[in-house]
């Protein structure tokens, strides 16, 4: 379980000094075990900052961030991240990228390979193990990113607009695939997105954030039954929640 209480984070100035301006202001929420929480908000609401704090990549200025009751002080073995820009090593082939986290954690080579191959299959990339990232499409690259994050068997998966850089069709396919994988290997997922459809389709709950400073406006329950798929998007509940999100986001946007 992720618990965030009264979290504050100031914007950093150019010289790295605090500016006194709050990027995130007294944030309170929790993500339950095996829950899929999606986070949506206007640009600059501190979504990515929030995720990096929970990943233990950057410090915070006030409040508490606990994972299973333990305060976050740095990256942990129980957590991994899927990045928006994929963050694949261009010099390494698919398999090497997938097992990166395992190798960093000192898992023996042969185990790495076995786990790596299992995940390559899980994300549907068998036959591409020895390809370099630049030889893959964007969608395939992000599947490598997903496989890498899952390889370390994290309890908690953090996804930072993972499909944001992909085209609409690829994004839909990857959403479906992510849902399938999540049904198989339940994890706690914190998923940041710009897309209202994506937030509702994937999430058990949707956390709506406001901007400047980043605060929780509301956490909305998504009572859609799982497994979800194409049919889900036609249901009235789906459309209602999506519209509700848009009404709220629209008033916050400064286009």
């Amino acid at each position: 379980m992720i618990q965030v209480r009264g979290l504050n984070k100031e914007f950093l100035g150019r010289d790295g000094a605090d500016t006194g301006l709050l990027a995130i202001d007294s944030l309170n929420f929790e993500v339950r075990d095996n829950e899929f929480l999606t986070v949506i908000g206007p640009s600059g609401c501190g979504k990515t900052t929030l995720l990096r704090i929970i990943a233990g990549l950057i410090p915070y200025d006030g409040g508490e961030v606990n994972i299973n009751g333990v305060p976050v002080t740095g990256p942990g073995p129980d957590r991994s991240v899927v990045f928006q820009n994929f963050a694949l090593m261009p010099w390494a082939d698919v398999l090497t990228n997938v097992v990166f986290g395992l190798e960093i954690r000192g898992v023996p080579k042969s185990d790495c390979k076995a786990t790596g191959m299992r995940l390559v299959r899980l994300v549907g990339l068998e036959g591409f193990e020895r390809r370099l990232p630049k030889e893959l499409s964007g969608g395939m690259q992000q599947r490598v990113g997903l496989a890498r994050a899952l390889a370390v068997s994290p309890q908690i998966l953090r996804m930072d607009e993972p499909f944001g850089a992909l085209d609409e069709q690829t994004r839909r396919l990857l959403q479906e695939q992510l849902l399938r994988i999540w049904e198989q290997e339940r994890k706690t997922v914190l998923f940041i997105t710009h897309s209202m459809e994506e937030a509702v389709l994937l999430g058990d709950r949707v956390m709506l954030m406001t901007t400047r400073p980043g605060r929780v406006k509301e956490i909305i329950n998504v009572p859609l039954k799982r497994p979800r798929g194409q049919e889900t998007e036609k249901s009235t509940t789906f459309i209602e929640i999506k519209e509700y999100l848009w009404e709220n986001l629209r008033s916050m946007q400064v286009a």
């Binding site: 942990g76 963050a87 010099w91 990166f100 960093i104 954690r105």
Partner: protein, 263 residues
């Protein structure tokens, strides 16, 4: 991105035929203008080739000076690599090192090296040490600067990714920073190599008469223009060979980068 493979062979072919045409044109105009000028200090193309064959195959006079010159080249270049790459890596990632080195790097980039030759000779004498030092001075700053830039340009997202998996600084260096900087390091090594060849010949021409430089001065003194040109031709061929070896090594070491750094 790579061109579609169908037309690739054709592109290479036409590129080569263009190169050959340019070469033929160059040789023809050289031959004609030299023949018309009748200046004994400018040999024709065929005379130069004749001199080349004489020096390389018949008398073999080129080999010993070539060997002597290359001692300075090899030692000076290796010394540069050994000093410059760690320095560039450190300057690229460690803020403090960069702050300290920055003004010196600026100075070293700005000053011409040739005026330093007398100083090197005063300090190190007329032997191999001076020549090595000059080759080093010609070379190392360019390798340092490129290595530093390469480290700087390593995708910060990759470093963050590595940290998110709990990588320590040593792992970040080994798995992300160094592989990420390899293409730029090779660019530096290539520029450095060209400079090293230049440094090798310049120091021999200007002060420490030995190797190829001494040979050039000797031929020039005897007005054997064909041999002068042939010796220069040898230097050019050596530089091209070395650069090709470098490109080959680069493709082996960093195959993912070859489409941005071949030419």
């Amino acid at each position: 991105m790579a061109a579609p493979s169908k037309s690739k062979g054709k592109d290479v072919l036409s590129a080569w035929s263009l190169r050959i045409w340019v070469f033929v044109l160059f040789v023809l105009s050289w031959q004609l203008s030299a023949a018309l000028m009748k200046n004994m200090l400018i040999p024709t193309f065929t005379e130069t080739i004749g001199g080349f064959i004489q020096l390389v195959f018949i008398s073999g006079r080129i080999w010993e000076p070539l060997y002597i010159s290359n001692q300075a080249l090899v030692l000076g270049y290796l010394l540069s690599v050994v000093v410059a790459i760690p320095l560039g890596l450190a300057a690229g990632r460690l803020r403090l090192v960069d702050r300290i080195l920055n003004p010196y790097i600026g100075v070293l980039l700005a000053i011409p090296v040739a005026p330093l030759i007398p100083i090197a000779i005063t300090a190190l004498g007329l032997g191999l040490a001076s020549r090595v030092a000059i080759v080093f001075l010609f070379t190392f700053i360019f390798i340092t600067v490129n290595t530093r830039a390469g480290v700087r340009n390593v995708d910060q997202g990759l470093i963050e990714m590595a940290k998110s998996f709990g990588a320590n600084e040593r792992q970040i260096w080994r798995r992300i920073v160094i592989p990420g900087a390899v293409p730029a390091i090779f660019a530096g090594l290539r520029i450095g190599l060209g400079r090293a060849v230049a440094g090798m010949v310049i120091v021999e021409l200007l002060l420490v008469a030995s190797g190829l430089g001494r040979l050039l001065l000797e031929f020039a003194g005897r007005l054997q223009a064909d041999f002068v040109f042939a010796t220069v031709l040898v230097v050019i061929i050596e530089a091209l060979l070395l650069l090709n070896v470098m490109s080959f090594a680069e493709k082996r070491v960093a195959p993912w980068a070859h489409d941005i750094s071949v030419e």
